[in-house]
């Protein structure tokens, strides 16, 4: 009855459904209970499933207190097996040794250390803790060089991750 081919395409469409469902589940939970310091515009979320923009407030008692940043997530068709593309957008880009002035973030879970058990929630938490642990506002040493030569997509960058605490 079934050729292997049709079974394969059936399995693939199931996979797509499963992935879409997971993203929807994540968004529902995120709107209901965002991580501390994250503000989500519930109205804009439903518009497109592959793009999400949320606001991050600099935590109290840190050098970013009082600042607000826009963080953009872009989800490819392979999400959650493939990491989302995460960048800061807009005019306010946090001045941080791992954040380039074009909004690209050097954070290993966004590329090499990504795992499908991670989520929008855990990425937000990591980014907030990366900002909160920073003691001095400065750009990465190679900022001007990187911004000139990099691809638009930070996932195409071959990052060398720092072992530093920041």
């Amino acid at each position: 009855m079934y050729s292997p081919r049709s079974e394969a395409s059936l399995a693939q469409s199931c996979t797509l459904q499963r992935q879409e469902k997971r993203l929807q589940k994540e968004l529902v939970a995120l709107i209901k209970e965002p991580p501390p310091g994250v503000v989500i515009d519930g109205e804009s979320v439903g518009q497109s499933l592959d793009l999400l923009v949320l606001s991050i407030n600099g935590a109290q008692g840190t050098i970013y207190e009082g600042e607000q940043f826009q963080l953009q997530f872009r989800f490819g068709p392979k999400y959650p097996f493939d990491s989302p593309e995460v960048v800061f957008i807009g005019t306010e880009i946090p001045v941080h040794p791992h954040v380039y002035s074009n909004g690209h973030i050097c954070l290993s879970i966004l590329t090499d250390d990504w795992s499908p058990a991670l989520s929008i929630f855990s990425v937000c938490v990591s980014i907030i803790s990366m900002l909160s642990s920073c003691k001095e506002k400065k750009r990465p040493p190679d900022d001007s060089m990187y911004v000139k030569t990099c691809s638009k997509n930070p996932k195409k960058t071959k990052w060398w991750y720092h072992d530093e605490e920041v």
């Binding site: 292997p4 693939q12 499963r18 097996f81 190679d142 060398w160 991750y161 720092h162």
Partner: protein, 191 residues
């Protein structure tokens, strides 16, 4: 019953009613979440459990293993994980179907997969053919890890590289090496 009672309450109390309803849903969610797949966040289907105790749907875990064939690790705790080291969970009333007839085939408990799996021809499924070779009598899997060039394991201080190397290219390259190695072995056997 309880829901009916709540809908009978006056509009003034309706917000309170919704809150208790929400709480109840959350409570029920906690219990169900214990059996959710760590990847799709849904109740695990064709469930398998890793040696480190983490639960997944087999299709979900399989897809993750195929995504990074050279660096197979548990999505939750990063422990080593592999196709042969997961245990299928058969609940009551679960599917009695032969798991091998499914795509992708779920590994069986405590025994290696028979060689004939390749006959099902996983064409069309992402990377399926690679898996069929890996479980044969021939230890092709060895080559996959030996020719593991594309795996960035170097960590350290220093400036960020700006070399726009593409992961897809790297994977292609390591697969190319794998095939060259296989052809070489066959050539040796024939010659």
């Amino acid at each position: 019953m309880a829901v009916d009672e709540e809908s009978d309450t006056s509009p003034r109390n309706s917000t309170g009613g919704e809150n208790t309803e929400n709480k109840r849903n959350e409570g029920r969610g906690e219990e169900e979440r214990a059996f959710e797949c760590n990847i799709c966040l849904d109740t695990a289907k064709d469930a398998v459990i890793s040696m480190c105790g983490h639960l997944f749907c087999w299709p979900c875990l399989h897809q993750w293993l195929e995504t990074r064939p050279n660096r197979q690790s548990c999505p939750v705790c990063k422990a080593a994980i592999s196709r042969d080291k997961v245990i299928p969970l058969y609940g009551r009333g679960g599917s009695k179907e032969d798991p091998r007839e499914k795509l992708p085939p779920r590994p069986q408990g405590q025994r290696t997969e028979p060689e004939n799996t390749g006959a099902f021809s996983n064409f069309g499924f992402d990377g399926g053919f690679q898996m069929s070779f890996g479980i044969g009598a021939f230890p092709f899997g060895l080559f996959a890890s030996t020719f593991n060039f594309g795996d960035p394991v170097i960590r350290g201080h220093g400036a960020h590289g700006t070399n726009p190397a593409n992961l897809e290219d790297e994977r292609f390259l390591s697969q190319l090496f794998l095939w060259v190695a296989i052809l070489f072995i066959f050539w040796l056997l024939v010659a």
